[in-house]
């Protein structure tokens, strides 16, 4: 019993001792942080780099806040106190200020907590040199980060530093590291540092190690060593063979990357052209307003994004007067001020809405213009071209002549890397998206009653009409569906390109090209043509080393191909096309 009590007591004291030690350590760190913020020049950089040894989460948070201009200086008398503002704000947008030096809230003379809005305080400045130091410090801290990706980045940076003094840190980390890919990066970084070692044996071993790791990042270093005239012959030999191995790996990565980029390029073409494959391919309307349907979708994503944020307002003032009153129209929609993950979901709402908006626009276009022109393709070309000009001007009046900003949701921004080939999420998304809408379109056309009607009307309008199909209605639905698909394309394009009044013009030629090459009237043809053109474009860009000559070669090939097979890849004989 007694013994147990003593044990307990010892434990308690030990615990207490630990706690106070911790406390002292933290307060020392805090004090140093605060000094670092207030110092300047080289002194500041030195203080910051010393903070790297602390391994403290607090240091990380403050340094990150600092680079984002979120560390503020509170001036009390002559002294400046570095503070952070709490995340939680009150109704006036003000927050309590935490003194970095002691972790307590700032109080005024009456011991009341002071509250500030971020604009009321001057933020602590950083410059490029300081941010580099902060970044290095964060790297050292990041070596112990819980996220493997962050660790990996930190490791690579240290590997590139060419400073042998970083070697022990990395070796210590390697012993503790459990994540396989981080282990690989650490090995790579260690080998890169060892290339600069004085001992030729270590240098040669490092070069061999880099070859085994197929390290692209080290290619420059290895090449320099291989061309070096002063290095010992065995090192040069090892470096040469390493450079060769890495070079081979790079060409492999390029081939894989090109295939992926070709697929994603093809998917964009496909998404853009699929709507046209329906309105032009199936219905036979030379729809020059297809690009503007894409723009409708893109502007829809702009409006939805604003509705999720601060709201959307516009006003049109017509240059006419009606008995002295200026004619105009204005609309203001309040935003829901969404933040965080909910805001990021805006794009999920964009997809159906852009389809619906573009489909509605298509519906109106079909009812007002196109239904009179079904048997007159050339007039439909002129009429839809006119409509496209009208729509562009409409966009200018509502949204302005300048491009508008559409920011991507965070989940579309990142990328992942497999064997040194990086796959952007937005690109992976467009491939999946293209596959999905192809499946959707195929199901609609072949498995639903509407699809049956569409196919029958497109094959022979008169016969379908005789059999009691309401062809006018089917035409309307088909055109709206094709336009809706263009709208979906616009929603996606807003994530990778510009949204502006004349954006549709950029895609109209590509769309027609894809549909014609694929064979007018054939959805399968459009798919094959899109993927084929996309991939060969990327391959030729890689081969010729210039984006323009790649495109030229593709276009020449298309011309020759159409000479040989005027009907496209999958030519269909149908009465509607005769």
């Amino acid at each position: 019993m007694k013994r147990a009590l003593i044990f307990l007591l010892t434990c308690l004291t030990a615990g207490l001792f630990c706690l106070t030690a911790r406390g002292q350590e933290t307060s020392a760190v805090r004090e140093k942080l605060s000094r670092a913020v207030l110092a300047d020049g080289l002194e500041q950089q030195k203080l910051v780099s010393e903070l790297g040894d602390t391994g403290s989460k607090l240091v990380h948070d403050v340094l990150v806040a600092w680079t984002r201009d979120n560390v503020f200086l509170y001036e009390s008398g002559d002294a400046k106190i570095p503070v952070l503002l709490e995340d939680q704000t009150d109704a006036d947008g003000k927050a309590r200020a935490i003194n970095i030096a002691d972790g307590k809230f700032l109080l005024d003379a009456q011991k009341r907590e002071l509250r500030f809005a971020p604009t009321e305080l001057a933020s602590a400045d950083t410059d490029a040199a300081l941010r580099t130091v902060i970044q290095q410090t964060l790297d050292t801290l990041a070596l112990a980060d819980s996220d493997p990706d962050a660790r990996q980045n930190a490791v690579l940076k240290l590997g590139n530093s060419k400073k042998l003094k970083n070697l022990p840190v990395l070796q210590a980390r390697l012993a503790r590291e459990t994540d396989v890919s981080v282990q690989r990066s650490i090995k790579e970084a260690i080998a890169m540092l060892q290339l600069g070692d004085a001992d030729p044996k270590i240098q040669a071993a490092a070069a061999q190690q880099l070859a085994a790791l197929k390290s692209i990042g080290s290619l420059d270093m290895v090449k320099t060593l291989a061309d070096s005239k002063t290095a010992p012959p065995e090192v040069v030999k090892a470096a040469k063979s390493a450079a060769e191995t890495i070079g081979e790996h790079i060409s492999f990565v390029n081939i894989l990357g090109t295939i992926f980029r070709g697929l994603s390029g093809g998917s964009i073409l496909l998404v853009v052209a699929l709507g046209l494959a329906i309105t032009f391919g199936l219905m036979g309307i030379i729809n020059m307003a297809h690009g503007e349907m894409i723009a409708v979708g893109a502007y829809t994503s702009y409006v939805v994004q604003n509705l999720f944020g601060t709201g959307f307002a516009f006003s049109i003032n017509l240059p006419f007067h009606f008995f002295g009153h200026p004619l105009g129209f204005s609309l203001s929609l309040p935003g829901i001020n969404a933040t965080g993950w909910f805001y990021e979901t805006y794009f999920l709402f964009v997809l159906p809405l852009s389809f619906i908006m573009a489909a509605l626009a298509g519906l109106v276009l079909e009812r007002t213009v196109i239904r009179f022109l079904y048997r007159r393709p050339l007039e439909s070309l002129l009429a839809t071209w006119g409509v496209s000009l009208v729509m562009q001007q409409l966009f200018r009046m509502v949204f302005g002549a300048n491009n508008v900003q559409v920011s991507s949701p965070r989940w579309l921004l990142g990328h992942f890397t497999l064997d040194d080939v990086s796959f952007g999420y937005n690109r992976v998304f467009v491939i999946a998206f293209a596959v999905l809408i192809i499946i959707g379109t195929w199901l609609l056309l072949t498995k639903t009653p509407l699809g049956l009607l569409i196919r029958s009307v497109m094959q022979n309008r008169d016969m379908a009409s005789c059999l009691g199909v309401r062809t006018a209605r089917v035409n309307m639905m088909t055109f709206a569906f094709g336009s809706g698909l263009a709208g979906l394309a616009g929603a996606f394009l807003s994530q990778i390109g510009n949204v502006g009044p004349s954006m549709g013009q950029l895609y109209i030629v590509d769309s027609f090209m894809t549909v014609v090459v694929g064979g007018v009237g054939s959805i399968v043809g459009t798919v094959c043509a899109a993927v084929g053109i996309g991939t060969s474009d990327q391959v030729l860009q890689q081969v010729t080393g210039s984006p323009v000559s790649g495109k030229i070669v593709v276009l020449v090939c298309i011309i020759l191909f159409l000479q040989w097979k005027p009907g496209g890849l999958f030519s269909i004989r149908s009465r509607s096309l005769d």
Binding site: G217, S264, S407
Partner: protein, 428 residues
Amino acid sequence: MKKQLMKYLALLSLAGMISLPARAADTVKIGVLHSLSGTMAISETSLRDVLLFAFDEINAAGGVKVGDKSYTIEPVVVDGASNWPLFAEKAKQLLEEDKVAVTFGCWTSVSRKSVLPVFEKDNGMLFYPVQYEGEELSKDIFYTAEAVNQQATPAVDYLLKQGKKKFYLLGTDYVYPQTTCLILYKYLLLHGIPPENIGGGFRKDDSGKVISAGKYVPFSYTDFQQIVADIKQFAASGDACVINLINGDSNVPFFKEIAAAGLTAADCPVVSFSLAEDELRALPTKDLVGELGCWTYFMSINTPANKTFLKNWDAWLTTQSYPGVVKEKRAMDSPMVLSYDGVYLWKAAVEKAGTFDVDKVRDVLESGDITFDGPGGKVTMQKNHHVTKDVFIGETKANGQFKILETFPQVYGEPFLLKDLDAKLTSK
């Protein structure tokens, strides 16, 4: 209602009749030749606006004083419509029909090249305000624009000082980026950067001489996947940066692709020569934080002169009633300030010469004594028709402004760099 309208109309025309002859006596016509429609309108209308602002400011302060008379400025605004042959026609109209004393205008180098013969033939005077490739000197053009050694080479100096060892050159395919990249390529060689560390590829003529360096894309290009993958591989070994001379809205897909590839300003900064505050308004600035810019003026310059200038500009925007001048969400940037500086340099020269005569004003401008304390610091017209001015390096912030990192004070504008660089390279 109709009667009232008629009355107003009558009154208006009466007022017009009275005021016109009164003004015509002491006015001087100044030409404004910019694209107010077409692709370039987005950038060029801002220059028209700032010129109108400068004219109003001068008129309010008593006009241009020549001898003992004051002349009110009467702007003649014409639209080049982003159509280069039309620029030449409009220039001819300004010089031969309107007989303007001076013209402020042009943005793209090709528009300048197309009006140049007209100005030379009719002995006109043109002030050109937008950063350009140099290698040109016409007696009829005064280049308030940044020469290559007032934008591109200071930016490279800065990057070299930051320890960058690899430079990727990228631009839109036309004369300004091509020439600038070629100059930069030679400049980098001269500063000990080996050709294999200059990315983007080279084109050589039959004798093996490099005639073009860097990667080029057409206007309005959108697919930057391959180029960004190339840059990523180039930057994998660290200490790399990108020199971006892409013009116009192609920058949006480029920077979106850069962000998606995970290339950050900390790993591989991008320094852009065609993105100023005015262009940043239409770009996702969130993705651009930390990327660099180099100009002879930034809106964020913290001097009393700049603050007063911006305050006056805002005040003018809200009160002016010119058709087509947008009042809200306006920015100020380097080409605009250089247009503004040009107006005052011309005014100073005219007042010193005591005449509007083009030859005499040119002589005064060429004397090298004409200076103006502009919003971006002191500017001095040099003998070689270029302007000595301060150069700033800045980095983009999330609010679309630049934070100034470094200042190169009073840089002498030198249009001919290629010959000099070639000579230095051969002697090396």
